[in-house]
Subunit: 411 residues, 2 copies
């Protein structure tokens, strides 16, 4: 049992074949949710599942479950999966790796004629990326009841097409009621989408939790004026006041290592003219932490700083929270299953808290869940140059195999 | 002589009549250089000049000189003027006031039947604003030889039309070679375009000089990365490094009061996405001072700071100087003429260094020059809500009258 390994070359081949659908000139993939290309990708993966003897269930939001029976089918299945939709300028591995690693586990078990006690399933969730339709993580979100099927169906892309219409059009509006599908445990393998593993030269990231995040829009309102005739003391420079807040965002994150994160990613300056003192600046703030209490502390410190800055500067400052996800700790049994599988296989490893969202967050609301990270080149994802090493993908898939076997039991 | 006054109501009426050409719904004016509306405005002002008995000369760049003979026409004329083109969302007073104040001086002298020794001229210069065609201050710039007539003619608007074509089309491509028009002295009245006079509650600004300015484009290059998974210590956040420089721009200006100015007016963040650490930030820097040595010091301090920031941060930083105008001190005799006229008339006054560019800068290269400022509401200009009080405009015009008479001499 312990010397069981997946076929890394076969996994790589499947990844490259799927990546050919929607391939971009720069080596990435553009396969937006519920497009014709998504249908092609789904059809290919389903055909592979059928060829592997799996039975297919599609639910009403288009989540696909591909099942390999166990010896006791009354037990809820051990599920693994991710998504196959991509960003507009996405890579070959984000999501796709998690789905095809699951299929590779099945192929390996088939070859070795190993039956599990509990059934095993490979799932792919609809519209994880949220690039064409919001909200993100739509399929898993509907599945766990984070929002309703009707909300998801009504979401429109920029051309006004709805999720409901597009699901039906590509033939993936299934019968099963989302969530009416038992899950015994859930694992998701994924490229890290960050630089931590590569920087530490480790192969496997055991993921104890996903960070919570708090998103804000901040607007600083001053008075636009001519850059020449307006003395420094008579200015209401919205950008200068904004830069203080932008620096504090980073300072707050640095006060809560190692998992504090603070980012200003988006800035709009009005009127944005070389010789005009900015009258208004709008910018985003992104605060994250894996500890909810610390995330709340960071939130409070941000509010305090903005209040002080409002008083000091005399300028108008508004801060609106536009999104909040609490931290999501994974289930100790699933985390341990990943950790012990990694130890058994002898891979170098470390704990890596996920800073990005994944379908596993929603799956974790319904069943014990865990994640397995592998390095990606320079930590780059959501980019056509996203890259990962075949041996790392193979290692992650081997960890998945052994973790799933531990949870499902070998007959 | 000393009790001579212009007619403030007539001046206001002329300003409002000219402002009706290209009037905007918000109470401003849009009369871009060399458009049909500019032709209408020019024709109106020229018709007023002819009605006042002035002789008209148009030079090859479309500058218009309207002359009232003196008793000794061998003397070079005492010229006053400004421009009548506006910004796309311009006001009623910027430029227009300087031209119509000159006409009002002529009308007053006509009524009082006063002859000057030297001739008097009212000029309006082509395309001061630079909104449709660059460079700015085009007519006065060609006149003084700052750049060639050919360069100006070849300038194109966004539709590809050239200055040469448009000048001919509206009938203002004259015969006189630019610069072949002697000037004995030049005065320009203008709204301050800043808040200093209003803040100090003074009516007349005596303008000893125009600030020099140094413009830069700064580009900070880091590495874009996902805002969640990237630990603070592994980031190359181009925006955070940029905010340090943006704050230093203001700090440098504050170290050189009262005439140091530092402004970041334009910012572009790439990729400008909420959950992506900025990989590149491009922003403008505008440094000004009335003292060239101090402006150079400010420049050097900026270079030093950027070099230190480059070393501290490890990020790429480039700084390119894109424009430089040295400070322009006005001629002591013209400044004194304004100062003594103001004193004689009993207006409250202070010295106000001009932070903005004016045609007077180029005129000052050829002849003694001086400027007269009057307050504008909230210091706002280049805006449809630009406003000024009739009594202030009247006061400035009275100062112009007496300063010109001092230079031209009363026969």
């Amino acid at each position: 049992m312990n010397d069981m390994r997946i076929d890394g070359g076969r996994l790589w081949g499947a990844l490259m074949e799927l990546a050919a659908i929607g391939a971009t000139p720069k080596g990435g993939v553009k396969r937006l949710a519920l497009t014709d290309l998504d249908k092609q990708g789904r059809d290919l993966v389903v055909s592979w599942g059928k060829a592997a003897g799996l039975s297919i269930t599609v639910d009403q939001i288009g989540n696909v479950f591909m099942r390999r029976d166990g010896t006791n089918n009354d037990l809820p299945p051990v599920v693994t999966g991710s998504h196959i939709d991509t960003q507009p300028t996405g890579g070959k591995f984000d999501g796709n790796y998690g789905v095809l690693a699951g299929l590779e586990v099945v192929l390996t078990l088939n070859e070795l004629k190993i039956k599990t006690v509990a059934p095993i399933e490979v799932a792919f969730w609809t519209n994880e990326e949220g690039s064409r339709f919001v909200p993100v993580m739509m399929g898993s979100g509907v599945f766990c009841g984070a929002f309703s099927l009707e909300t998801a169906y009504a979401a429109r892309d920029v051309d006004g097409k709805t999720v409901g219409e597009e699901l039906a059009r590509i033939g993936y509006k299934g019968e099963q009621v989302p969530g009416r599908h038992p899950i015994g445990a859930y694992f998701e393998t994924h490229i890290e989408q960050g630089p931590v593993l590569e920087d530490a030269d480790k192969v496997i990231g055991v993921v104890p939790a996903v960070m919570g995040l708090s998103w804000y829009d901040c607007v600083v309102s001053g008075m636009e004026a001519h850059a020449g005739p307006t003395p420094m003391g008579l200015r209401k420079d919205a950008l200068q006041v904004s830069t203080r807040i932008m620096q504090e965002v980073v300072a707050i994150a640095n006060r809560y290592p190692p998992y504090g994160r603070g980012t200003v990613g988006m800035v709009q300056v009005f009127p944005n003219s070389r010789n005009v003192i900015p009258g208004e600046v709008k910018f985003s703030i992104d605060l994250r932490n894996v500890n909810e209490e610390l995330l709340n502390t960071m939130h409070e410190e941000m509010l305090d700083f903005i209040e002080r800055t409002r008083q000091d500067s005399g300028l108008g400052i508004t801060l609106e929270r536009v999104s909040y996800y609490p931290p999501c700790p994974f289930h100790p049994e699933c985390v341990d299953a990943v950790r012990s599988a990694t130890a058994k296989l002898g891979y170098s490893t470390m704990d890596v808290v996920s800073g990005a969202g994944h379908d596993a967050i929603y799956a974790a609301r319904l069943a014990p869940a865990g994640m397995i990270f592998v390095p990606c080149k320079d930590g780059i994802s959501h980019n056509e140059i996203e890259d990962a090493k075949s041996e790392h993908l193979e290692a992650g898939c081997n960890v998945l195999l052994h973790a799933m076997l531990e949870r499902a039991g070998v007959a």
